[in-house]
Symmetry: C2
Subunit: 303 residues, 2 copies
């Protein structure tokens, strides 16, 4: 069953038996705090705030939230808050991670260090879920943050992870599009060759429980009418559940365009670590943080 | 002076002393014919229709346009209409070229063959002009069709050509953004390194009469508010006149997103050949063809 909007994910999160403990790396970020306390109020999250007490506590007071339930793990200036947050999780004191006021790169690195115990044999990938008025369902897009230009093997992993994730939140047999500039395979366009190869591989040895279409251009993924005009015969056009992009730049552009021009709501998680990880952009608002936490909670219920 | 919309380009085209002869390769394309006859009616274009008589003439009748002034250069089935159109130009019987019903690749190849005499020492580049409600001016973007991933030297040429083009249609000293995923230069992201290098080169030896900013992310190019939120200090944000993209895919995605989600009007030309070349997408409507011809006419007035 496809999701129409994020309400169903929030409902899934609310059905959790006991709130999940989310460890926020660099809690001195207003939108993140607001989103986390919304999730706490909705009873599916308990926040652990990792950050400098002198910054976090006054911010909580300013936001009128100092009396909400939370735990503070104070850090010193210059301390790597991401590593500290990961240590908290490793001590068994957290179910999920969230990026607060810290660089994406600094935040992701401790997840990749084997000694930290959160790494799996999977690729880390950042998947956004997007809901926008002009598309009939919530659509996933990835990877939008971690691997600059994934190779064929990495794309297989991203497809499999995206399918798993979509199935966890309710999609039955997701339809995944492999974005390229054109539909025709051309030997001078690597994206098209790789998309074709992935579709072939999927026919021989299914990569995941999904339908895989590609190479396919942006307009044909999103619109039945564009597909009709261009004579592209595929009933899934305008109904795809997920898009796998050939590069971070492509994914980043699409999500930014959706946010700026298509009134898109988004939420994002990093999958592939032992626990779900909420990762939002620093210019995102509290709703994005709230929905990302709901998404992580829904994912961690299954795990 | 920045353009607010395409009307000023149409006015420039109308001020031409004598209509420009446009040679249409594969004239059996309804939107192209409609756009070309709009331009003919506005007295800045005279159309030469290259294509199969059995297809073109009935189409003109169906569109109620068979009595309009035009010249037909009939072709045989299987004949390369692009080569025939280029031959017409080479005989001195055409001022501009336009793509009709023929593949982009087939259309561009005869422009690249030195024997055809239309090639210059410049790179061919396809630049779109775009006008959309949420941006205060007409903005150029390129290359969106020819070079899959331009190298540094090729990017220099694209910048120079875009600046020339913008100045021809009225911009004084264009502000050009070098699109990347992020603003921070990172050695593992080639786009950022190359953008930095181009800006440095521009300081040493100006590439063109322009201001050049990069690497810069999509949202900061388009929006002053995004720049403010992210603490990116550049007064040109939200006011750039042109965007140079690192790959065709990036340019293609942006233009498609603008068309699908931001109510964008577009028109497109290929520059770098001896004559201006109108190149529109086959799913574009007659307005796009009309504006592209106005744009080519404005450019060829200067040439």
């Amino acid at each position: 069953m496809a999701l129409k909007n994020f309400d169903q994910i929030v409902e899934q999160a609310k059905s959790v038996q006991k709130p999940k403990t989310v460890v926020i790396a660099g809690a001195d970020a207003e939108n993140i705090l607001l989103g986390a306390f919304m999730a706490q109020e909705a009873s599916f999250v308990f926040p652990v705030l990792v950050g400098e007490e002198e910054k976090v506590v006054p911010m909580l007071e300013r936001l009128g939230m100092k009396d909400r339930p939370y735990r503070l793990v104070p850090t010193q200036p210059g301390e790597n808050v991401a590593q500290t947050a990961v240590d908290v999780v490793n001590r068994g004191e957290g179910d999920m991670l969230m990026r607060g006021n810290t660089q994406t790169r600094e935040f992701l690195l401790p997840l990749l260090v084997p000694e930290n115990g959160l790494r799996t044999d999977k690729l880390l990938a950042h998947i956004d879920l997007v809901c926008m008025p002009e598309y009939p369902k919530v659509i996933a897009i990835g990877d939008v943050t971690v691997t600059i230009e994934p190779n064929l093997q990495q794309k297989k992993t991203i497809i499999a992870d995206m399918v798993d994730m979509l199935k966890t939140v309710g999609y039955e047999r997701p339809n995944i599009a492999l974005l390229s500039m054109v539909e025709k395979v051309a030997f001078h366009m690597k994206d098209t060759i790789e998309a074709q190869e992935l579709v072939r591989e999927h026919c021989r040895h299914p990569i995941a429980d999904c339908q895989l279409v590609g190479p396919i251009a942006y307009d044909l993924i999103l619109s039945k009418e564009a597909a009709r005009l261009k004579g592209y015969d595929c009933p899934l056009c305008g109904e795809f559940d997920g898009i796998v992009v050939p590069s971070l730049l492509a994914g980043n552009l699409i999500v930014k365009c959706w946010q700026m021009h298509a009134h898109a709501q988004t939420c994002g998680v990093v999958i592939g670590a032992k626990i779900p990880v909420a990762l939002t952009s620093r210019s995102d608002d509290k709703e994005v943080a709230f929905h990302s936490l709901a998404f992580c909670t829904a994912l961690s219920q299954k795990a």
